[in-house]
């Protein structure tokens, strides 16, 4: 479980995150949603420690990230996997080497063991036969999967995904969402996903935090979204006519049940 307590972040006097507090649960897909520029990436990078918040606390199962010693931070880092918006694969390394990289830097496994673990991870994300290719030689969806394989190579307790679906077609997006969700359940990870993709929200939104202009506007599950009367949330989620109709449909269904 990760707890964010009163996190504020300003850049050059401009406040991007306004006093955010939120809980992210183990074994659940926790979503941070909001428009582009609402501060999702800044919040995620603050949680993982790539950005130091101006003030506030970040608790990983009770341990405050910001007060950890150098070695404790390193230890915690080895329990964190992160999937970046643009995959961020190392382009000088092959697919297999990318997945083996964290193993090489942080374990004392032999080459054979590392290869075995990396191949297992690649298999887990349904990617076979691409071992020897370079990131520039595979599609965006495949790159995302390699990045997931790399993120889970060290068996992390915490998984972070920054817009895992950006730049992917709807079908591939769905597969990636399912994969992340399955892995979360399988290893009981605390998974946090940044997204503005409504399909993801409706598909895997078990604990949703809605950010609006750097403020935490709303918290709930995907089912709560339909009944919420939060104006900013409705404007964001039901911006498209399709989702508006879905909402009306769901609401009439619900009333029918009562």
């Amino acid at each position: 479980m990760i707890e964010v307590r009163n996190v504020i972040k300003s850049f050059d006097g401009k406040t991007i995150l306004h006093d955010i507090s939120a809980d992210f649960y183990a074994g659940k897909t926790n979503l941070i949603i909001g428009q582009s520029g609402s501060g999702k990436t800044v919040l995620m990078k603050s949680i993982v420690g790539l950005i130091v918040p101006t003030s506030g606390q970040i608790l990983y199962d009770g341990k405050d990230l910001l007060t950890l010693s150098h070695n404790e931070t390193r230890l915690l880092r080895s329990e964190i996997g992160m999937l970046f918006q643009g995959s961020a694969l190392f382009d000088s390394l092959t697919v297999l080497e990318n997945v083996m990289f964290p193993l090489k830097m942080f374990t004392h496994k032999t080459l054979k063991e590392r290869t075995k673990r990396a191949e297992f991870c690649l298999e887990r994300v349904n990617l076979k036969g691409a071992d020897k290719l370079f990131p520039s030689e595979i599609s965006g969806g495949m790159q995302k999967r390699v990045a997931i394989a790399r993120a889970i190579a060290l068996n992390p307790k915490y998984l972070f995904c920054d817009e895992p679906n950006s730049g992917l077609d709807p079908k591939t997006s769905l597969l990636i969402d399912e994969l992340v969700s399955d892995i979360t359940k399988e290893y009981n990870m605390t998974t946090i996903i940044n997204t503005h993709d409504m399909n993801s929200v409706m598909g895997i939104g078990e604990n949703i935090i809605f950010l609006n202009k750097g403020h935490k506007e709303w918290v709930g599950t995907k089912d709560d979204i339909f009944t919420s009367d939060n104006e900013a949330l409705n404007n964001f989620v039901f911006a498209s006519n399709l989702f508006k109709e879905v909402k009306e449909y769901v609401l009439t269904q619900k009333q029918g049940h009562l």
Partner: protein, 249 residues
């Protein structure tokens, strides 16, 4: 007021260097990258160093013949002057200025691209000291390969002059060969090598600094790479004056 920004930048540069110069997480990985960088920064520069040195060596020889030859001065002075120009200035300072363009822009754009595509963040999140992991092998590689490039440039430059003596009637081969050996001072070579070590450090560390601190996208990467070439060239020129004053007096 105008001094504050450069000073702040210099402070950030020093802070970056502090994280660069720490013990690598994995020595095997450091050496692997070190060897790769030797190839990329050093071996791949040999062709350009050879080409430029041969031509400049030839031109210097021709200019020396045209400008200093007179009945008062012995013919071998051409070889001697060509050699001293190459040894003292060309093969270290000018060569490093050229490398600042080639190697510096290469380093800045490579690291800058890794920054904007979040590859550096990916390293940091894994707990790897990204500055140390990426930059130290580059600095170490360029600093250790530069003396070889400098000496290689001296030889090819002298060879360029030799070609002039062979293929033209401007100076005889014997006089040229005699000239480049006459009154040889070994210290000139040490002076050149010492200078080039400093320049190599400047080129690789300044370019890394600009690449590492890119914010934005592809456009900013290009700008960082240009900035790094400009700044390191200016620094090379200034340090050239300083080091010459210190080392030659």
């Amino acid at each position: 007021m105008f001094l504050i920004k450069p000073l702040a930048q210099f402070g950030r540069y020093l802070m970056l260097m502090r994280s660069v110069f720490s013990i690598p997480d994995r020595w095997s990985e450091f050496f692997r990258r070190y060897i790769t960088e030797i190839y990329k920064l050093g071996i791949d520069s040999i062709a350009i160093v050879a080409t430029i040195s041969i031509f400049i060596g030839a031109v210097i020889t021709i200019q020396m013949v045209l400008n200093i030859m007179s009945p008062m001065i012995p013919a071998y002075a051409v070889g001697l002057a060509t050699r001293d120009v190459l040894l003292l200035e060309f093969s270290s300072s000018i060569m490093c200025l050229i490398l600042a363009g080639k190697v510096g822009s290469n380093i800045a754009s490579e690291i800058g691209t890794m920054r904007v595509t979040e590859q550096i963040d990916a390293l940091d999140i894994m707990g790897v000291n990204s500055a140390n992991y990426l930059i130290l092998p580059k600095i170490a590689a360029l600093v250790s390969i530069i003396p070889i490039l400098v000496i290689f440039s001296m030889f090819t430059g002298l060879f360029g002059g030799f070609l002039v003596s062979v293929f033209t009637q401007m100076i005889t081969v014997t006089k040229y060969i005699y000239g480049i050996q006459a009154m040889f001072n070994e210290y000139y070579i040490w002076y050149s090598i010492i200078k080039s070590l400093v320049f190599a450090f400047v080129i690789s560390s300044v370019a890394s600094y600009y690449g590492y601190n890119v914010k934005g996208g592809a456009l900013e990467v290009g700008k960082a790479s240009t900035d790094s070439v400009v700044i390191s060239s200016v620094m090379i020129l200034m340090l050239d004056v300083l080091l010459t004053k210190l080392l030659m007096q």
